[in-house]
């Protein structure tokens, strides 16, 4: 609700004594209008992208100040539809002579037509146009339904252990801590969950779980111990498999196939005790 005056709370009319503004607001120094000397650049001449979830693609924005004084500066980013950007604004303190390097993720939603798109960046009187070439989406011929579909999690230990790492086709635990596996972010709290969502109902009869099992972090000490596999069938979740006391690096759950729109792994306990859920790869098959 918008108002005129201070009415809504002033029931009997305000007695406005002395209009005193002691120290009105922040300092009078306004560096915004004086944003000369800014520079914009990117680490690549063209961004390559594919229209699938979890694609690691983008560029590094180089935002510099060639002026003689420090400034707080703003760079506004815009991507041609339907592309998405991990941030549309980069604001930063820039000391004289300093160039800030900021990674910008570029997303192409599934269904984005292959072709060339443009990202525009503006800061002060500077402008940068960066082309984005969107290619054909990759396909998976292994029957793993979890590849190239949206993945979500109860929490993610970002940026090193994203949910995307659990469906990236990399089962190698020695790559742990290089964004190729999922670790939740709620230490000591169970359950956690990791979910893949299909475009259309799919027949699901087997779920392979590769838990963390590296030389440094063996499955029996750090891997997932107890979990349930849930399938979303006609909009309702049902438990299709339960695993208890696992110490193996790979645990394959087979069950009577169901027609599911999503599969969720409900993590209940870790071999390490009350810490984290750690999954290197989750794979889903018809049987």
């Amino acid at each position: 609700m918008r108002i005129r005056g201070w009415k809504p709370l002033v029931l009997l009319g305000a007695v406005l004594t002395g209009v005193v503004a002691a120290g009105i607001t922040g300092p009078a120094v306004a560096d915004r209008p004086a944003q000369g000397g800014l520079t914009l650049a990117a680490d690549v001449a063209e961004v390559s992208a594919v229209p699938v979830p979890c694609a690691k693609q983008g560029f590094e924005l180089r935002f510099g100040n060639t002026g003689k004084t420090a400034v707080y500066a703003d760079a506004f980013l815009e991507a041609g539809a339907p592309l998405t950007l991990s941030r549309k604004l980069v604001s930063s303190y820039l000391p004289p002579g300093y160039t800030l390097k900021v990674p910008i993720d570029v997303g192409a939603p599934r269904g984005t037509a292959p072709g060339t798109y443009t990202i525009e960046v503006k800061a002060g009187d500077q402008k940068l146009s960066l082309p984005v070439r969107v290619g054909e989406p990759p396909t998976d011929n292994s029957g793993n339904l979890a590849r190239f579909v949206p993945v979500t999690a109860s929490s993610e230990h970002l940026p090193v252990y994203p949910a995307c790492g659990a469906v990236d086709g990399d089962r190698d635990s020695e790559h742990w801590a290089k964004t190729t596996g999922w670790n939740d972010a709620t230490k000591g709290n169970f359950p956690d969950w990791l979910q893949v969502t299909f475009d259309k109902p799919e027949t699901v009869g087997r779920v392979d779980l590769y838990t963390l099992n590296s030389k440094q972090y063996p499955a029996a000490g750090y891997g997932l111990k107890d979990w349930d596999v849930l399938a979303q069938v006609n909009g309702a979740w049902q438990t299709v498999a339960s695993v208890r006391g696992n110490t193996a690096p790979l645990n394959s759950s087979t069950f009577i196939p169901v027609t599911a729109t999503a599969v969720r792994l409900l993590a209940l306990a870790s071999n390490e005790g009350p810490t984290y859920s750690r999954i290197v790869e989750l794979e889903v098959y018809a049987g």
């Binding site: 918008r2 998405t84 800030l100 709620t186």
Partner: protein, 537 residues
């Protein structure tokens, strides 16, 4: 545990509900309530700009800072505000209906400060409540209550402080803040980790939100725009807003306002100092923009946050900053055994200048109670219950030489009733500060109270395995409780009473609050006297 809802609490809660009927709950990714009516207007805003609430802080006998930030779409670039200056009107009254408006004015919200306004309202009377509000572009903010400090020299009376720290948003609901909003406190002291820099998953961690957290929250906060977003998410929480509406806050930061366990110019990842100082400048600026601190704003990577407040002759509160000036953690950080590096006199935590400022102030103080708002545990805390030692390299224990200077200085002022308040560890601890921590019969010269975290750590437990080790290895530790909550400290000339208050869970909203333990500290006789709650040892 007993459900403990006192009459004053109920009254305060009713008052809060009356005044915040227009409080805005923020929905992700959509326009906010009222935005359809808000198009156009003189300020160029596109909806109710008061989505992040209002706040007050740093009370003096004649003044207090009142704060708000204009953010009609708080998760959009610039908070959805135009890239230009916007005028904001404000009023301060002696009554909650604004019959007696005694100060008012017009302020300018500037985009280079995220359209925040920090008004240092002066000419107020000491030791009394005031009510304040803002108006912008035809929108009226929530009405909030604040309170000035008693006049210098005032004897007697009472001071009530709510104290807590560490409010990780994805770790759960702000149920504790909601309860604190109903406590009759003169001020809230916040001991650091107001935000966490980490990216936030769509499900919002333990909150498990139905409305996904927008994708711009996935990356870790590093640049100014990204830290501002993080504050926007935290401050959009109605329970946190309620806690700010109830009393002025006195805040300090710890590590997560910048980066986990950073030390001075050293980042956790050992980033080049030049780069890390840019990040620190961005983080410090965003902190100032979102909290009720006095001007000027930080310009660049340095900002003096340590400062002191007087509450008549009853109490003095010194606020430390143990992050900005510290040396790198010894022995690669973490929990380590004693070492020469740990005791190296060249390594500092608060830094010599700040340490001397604090100890000189303590020496000069004429207040009955001398309270220190501190971040990391100052007393010895040994995680190894055997004869061996295991110390936290990130706490005062990790900076043994300066710890000794500090503790010796505090001990020399035993007669000034030192009370150290500490955050960081997501646990409620009550400790007696001893001349020799290994010898329970040695003299106690002060108390260190750790009032647990608001939310960090999730639901928590009563006593974890490590909590038990602490109890076993530290005879000066009289209470461990690792649930979420805060403490209420009531000072008068004769005694300090501290209530450790906690909620049983935060992964769902609505948990009740209860007092899990109370201690009394007698003025002139340092030490913890258990007055309520289960005996711990």
């Amino acid at each position: 545990m007993t459900e403990d809802l006192r009459p004053a609490v109920r009254m305060a809660r009713r008052r809060f509900l009356t005044l915040t009927g227009a409080a805005t709950a923020v929905a992700f990714g959509t326009n906010l309530p009222g935005s359809a009516l808000g198009t156009g207007g003189t300020g160029g805003l596109t909806g109710n700009p008061f989505t992040l609430g209002v706040a007050s802080g740093d009370p003096l006998p004649d003044g207090v800072v009142i704060w708000t930030r204009l953010a009609p779409k708080p998760f959009e670039p610039l908070g959805g505000a135009p890239y230009k200056e916007v005028r904001v009107d404000w009023q301060v009254a002696t009554d909650e209906r604004f019959h007696q408006v005694i100060r008012s004015g017009r302020a300018t919200a500037r985009p280079e400060y995220a359209h925040s306004v920090h008004i240092d309202v002066r000419g107020l009377q000491p030791g009394r409540h005031y009510w304040y509000r803002f108006r912008c572009d035809g929108y009226l903010s929530q009405t909030a209550r604040t309170r000035t400090a008693p006049a210098p020299g005032t004897r007697g009376g009472q001071l009530t402080l709510g104290v807590s720290s560490c409010q990780s948003w994805p770790d759960g609901y702000y149920t504790a803040q909601r309860h604190l909003a109903s406590e009759d406190v003169d001020a809230v002291v916040f001991l650091g980790d107001y935000i966490y820099e980490y990216g936030i998953a769509a499900a919002g961690g333990l909150r498990n939100v139905a409305d996904p957290v927008p994708s711009q929250f996935r990356t870790e906060a590093d640049t100014l725009d990204r830290y501002r977003l993080q504050y926007a998410l935290y401050k959009s929480d109605p329970d946190l807003q309620a806690a700010h509406l109830n009393a002025p806050w006195i805040t300090t930061w710890d590590d997560h306002e910048v980066q986990d366990n950073y030390a001075g110019t050293v980042s956790k990842s050992n980033a080049p100092v030049e780069d890390f100082l840019v990040r620190r400048a961005n983080a410090y600026r965003a902190y100032w923009e979102h909290l009720p601190l006095r001007s000027p704003a930080p310009q660049g990577p340095n900002y003096q946050l340590y400062r002191r407040f007087g509450f008549g002759r009853l109490a003095e509160l010194s606020v430390l900053d143990t992050r900005q000036y510290r040396s790198d953690q010894a022995a690669g950080d973490g929990w380590k055994a004693d070492s020469e590096a740990r005791r190296d006199p060249a390594r500092v935590l608060a830094g010599q200048q700040q340490t001397q400022w604090y100890l000189n102030g303590l020496n000069r103080s004429r207040a009955t109670w001398n309270v220190l708002a501190n971040q990391v545990i100052m007393s010895r805390m040994d995680l190894d219950p055997t004869a061996a030692d295991l110390y936290n390299m990130d706490a005062w224990d990790g900076y043994g030489a300066e710890q000794k200077v500090m503790l010796d200085g505090v001990a020399a002022n035993r007669h000034r009733n030192p009370v150290v308040l500490t955050g960081d560890v997501h646990a409620g601890y009550a400790m007696e500060m001893k001349r020799d921590f290994a010898d329970p019969s040695s003299q106690t010269y002060g108390v260190e109270l750790v009032p647990t975290s608001f939310s960090s750590g999730g639901n928590g437990v009563d006593v974890s395995a490590n909590g038990q080790k602490f109890l076993d290895g530290n005879p000066h530790l009289k209470l461990v409780n690792e649930k979420r909550g805060y403490s209420v400290l009531r000072f008068d000339e004769r005694e300090l009473r501290v209530d450790f208050r906690a909620v049983p869970y935060i992964d769902k909203p609505g948990a009740p609050i209860s007092t899990i333990h109370s201690f009394v500290v007698e003025a002139g006789n340092p030490g913890l006297n258990s007055v309520a709650g289960k005996a711990v040892r």
